[in-house]
């Protein structure tokens, strides 16, 4: 689908009306599902994903058959295995496209998320066990990997699995695809599906507030000179995403204390409950 991105240079507005450094609307909920240990729902623009976490628990008999990319070791090792299972619903994209479980693209997403989370979760506390993360993609509009990582992070927080910090992800791109226009190229934050089709882009995830990059995936050709700018914008976006995720978790926590679902803990008295 050809997209006329040349209009960007006229008003410096993108196809959906954003500036170069603006995120799309991010809406998230945690504890959406009572039966699971942890669950979350996340929207980044029109990309909508759901995540359900079960565990850490003893690995079941079906282990290994369907889990994608066991980051952090198997069931017999000292660390818990993070098994990620992604289901991309047939109705999620504009044209219905069904992907089998053995799809290479899905397997790659699974192992990326699994490894990123295994590095952040304290898996050494749960030897001989498995953390099952199942992700459901309900609607796709770009930045799929970023949305999946954010949703998985929220669900792990909800499940109460100890972790170093949030793994917050977002995408970054560059406005121009050809080398001649080097000085006129702007980096773009949080790409939608149209932009992903047309422009080079990368997905970056950072650990909490730091600049430490946990995931960096680039699937398109891009000039080396642009990479630095894109990465800087992406890391900056991750910090914004982290703030949003943190706000979601805190709001839910306050709500649960107010409703009396959980006891007010020690040291929480000085926290303002607005």
């Amino acid at each position: 689908m050809p997209l006329d991105t040349s209009a960007y240079s006229l008003a410096l507005l993108r196809v959906d009306g954003r500036r170069w450094n603006e995120l799309r609307r991010i809406h998230a909920q945690i504890r959406t599902q009572a039966a699971a240990d942890g669950s979350s729902y996340l929207e980044m623009g029109h990309t909508k994903v759901m995540c359900v976490v079960n565990g850490p628990s003893e690995p079941g008999p079906r282990r290994g058959a369907t889990s994608g990319g066991g980051g952090g070791g198997g069931g017999q090792s000292k660390n818990a295995e993070v098994a990620v299972n992604i289901v991309i619903a047939g109705f999620s994209s504009v044209d219905r496209k069904r992907r089998g479980r053995g799809d290479k693209h899905i397997l790659e997403l699974q192992s990326t998320i699994s490894q990123a989370l295994a590095a952040s979760l304290h898996t050494h506390l749960f030897p001989h066990s498995t953390i099952n993360i199942s992700l459901h993609v309900l609607s796709q509009d770009g930045s799929l990997l970023a949305a999946l990582i954010n949703a998985a992070t929220l669900a792990c927080v909800d499940a109460g699995i100890p972790m170093t910090d949030y793994v917050a992800a977002c995408t970054a791109g560059s406005t121009s695809t050809y080398a001649a226009n080097d000085e006129g190229a702007d980096p773009l934050l949080d790409m939608n599906h149209q932009e992903e089709q047309e422009l080079p882009g990368l997905t970056v995830a950072t650990l909490g507030d730091s600049d430490r990059v946990a995931v960096l995936v680039c699937e398109s050709r891009v000039q080396v000179s642009r990479l630095e700018g894109m990465l800087a914008v992406g890391v900056d976006g991750c910090k914004q995403v982290r703030e949003i995720l943190d706000r979601v978790v805190r709001d839910k926590g306050i709500k649960m204390i107010q409703e009396g679902t959980v006891e007010r803990g020690v040291g929480l008295n000085d926290m303002e409950l607005d």
Partner: protein, 387 residues
Amino acid sequence: MASSQHVLLSPAELAYLHASLSLTPPIRPDGRSLTQFRPLVAETGILPGTNGSARICFADGTEAIVGVKAEVERTRTGHDSPSLDDEGAEDDDDLDNQQDVVKGDNDWVEMTVEIPGYRDDDAGTVFLSAMLSEALLADGEFTKRLWINRRFHWKLYLDILLISPPLSYPLPLLSLTTHLALLATRLPRLKSEGDEDPLFDDDWAAAPYLYARPVQKGSKKTASAPTARPPVTLLVMAVGNNIIFDPSKEELAVADVALAVSVGEHTGFASSKSTEMDIDTEEIKGYHNLRLLSVRTIDPPSRLTPPGIPNASNSAYGANAGAKDTEKKKQQQEQARTAESEAVEGVWKSPRGGAKTLVMAALVQKVLEKGGVADEVLDALDGVDLN
């Protein structure tokens, strides 16, 4: 995904559960009445990218999402009818029989079930989707709704996602969600006429529902204004002579018989010419005109449960104590064998053999009776706001 989930109940617990469920009136573990369903949360129209979508959450935490997507597809012409694309001369007499060519094909509906942790070619998953699509296609009326003209038709894709881990047998949940999603499904309004290439109205607000809604919302429908609706598949089980609806996982673990009963609503115009199908119709005004679409027995997990050992044959209780000579031992082994095959009061034994005919008849009767469970379920689903 099999109906036989690993139920962690001991034979003694199973015996207790079985006994309390076969009382009159029975006592269910969660205190529900026989026909009472678990509370659920339902919403429709959650995904703007689909033609229709629904989400249902049961109280036990299981959750499902169904999305319906439609595509226009060229109808394949059979070898018996002339190719419709390059005909010109016989247009005139084709116009005469245009009314009775409205027909459907079961290939026009594609249903997939996704259950996390299970492969999509897993026998249980395939069985689930077969049961759900069978109910939908049973009367042949559904696919007629997908007919556009003689050259084109809608191809409907139903994607059923179970979001939560399968805690109880998910059939009723998936069926109810599919029902709601189909009720919420809208197809663009057709602007072209006859056998032209189809052209549709851009205005989504003008798009008609796949299942036409009654004009007055909220008012009780009467037999004079029949509205068709998609089928509902209910899970029913029997313990002794008691018939229990919407069993939980624990209840299913002691079921003598488990049935999946699909119920549809009979509409006025539906021609019951087809004789291959066995259609029971009850026409009562003020209630839904229910008809039975399909019945499937489900292998209850109770068959795989370990049996209890009666005291008579339990050596820990001195059954074999003092059995020194072989004569006596043999006798006691004989006794033990009869004890194993015969039911002992208060000792769990997994049910064997099929369902009793009378129980089966009562089961189906109970589903179809006026003001019965199916009626109640359909009424409750009417209350869900379709947007």
